[in-house]
């Protein structure tokens, strides 16, 4: 089962690299923000599965909670900034 989690994590890493292409090459800033938010969601799952591999679920679940909150708040803060500025 640990081997399966390891392969899932490698696959998620490749998906994150694919999203990173959009972060680097995105035409507008909003495209980059969408891709960064998607990377954050994938990293959340990555952390949970790393916790299962290491056998320290109780520690990594707390980290995941904080990571989910920070991902959401970071997106909200950036969108508020762009709305206030009025152009991208």
């Amino acid at each position: 089962m640990n081997t399966f989690f390891l392969y899932v994590n490698i696959f998620l890493g490749f998906l994150i690299l694919a999203c990173l292409y959009r972060v680097v090459m995105g035409p507008t800033t909003i495209d980059r923000m969408i891709a960064v938010s998607a990377i954050g969601t994938k990293t959340l799952i990555l952390l949970i599965l790393i916790g299962f591999i290491f056998g320290r679920v109780e520690m990594f679940v707390d980290i995941c909670t904080v990571y989910a909150l920070l991902n959401f708040l970071g997106t909200l803060a950036t969108t508020k900034f762009f709305e206030g500025r009025g152009k991208c």
Binding site: I30, D31, T41, F72
Partner: protein
């Protein structure tokens, strides 16, 4: 033969968890391909807003099935609930910022003279 011998070592819970996690990975894959392939940011939001929410729900339920019921799986349920509420909200916030900044949506052909205006 190899796959049969691997499957014999797994319990029913593990097989259920593996099926759920692979389904979640499929939806992560489609959302990533959507981010890369769709033509503009509004259509990209369709891929992330729906795909990531369902993928997180599926993978976390798979992890709960693998882990069993205790305080940690209750926290995992809390994370899933939070993502279920927060991911569409974040998508909506990004879309509102883009719409208020006046970014024009991609259209199939230029039949509409003013693409920023809503259709009726």
């Amino acid at each position: 033969m190899l796959t049969v011998s691997i499957l014999k070592n797994l319990s029913a819970n593990d097989i259920c968890a593996i099926v759920l996690i692979i389904a979640g990975l499929f939806f992560f894959f489609t959302s990533t391909v959507g981010i890369l392939r769709f033509p503009d940011l509004y259509t990209r939001m369709h891929a992330t807003g729906k795909g990531d929410t369902l993928a997180v729900l599926l993978i976390i339920s798979g992890a709960i099935v693998h882990h069993g019921l205790n305080l940690n799986s209750a926290k995992l349920t809390l994370i899933a609930l939070f993502v279920f509420i927060a991911n569409p909200t974040a998508t909506h916030a990004i879309g509102r910022a883009a719409y208020r900044c006046g970014i024009k949506p991609w259209l199939k052909e230029s039949k509409c003279t003013n693409p920023g205006e809503p259709h009726q």
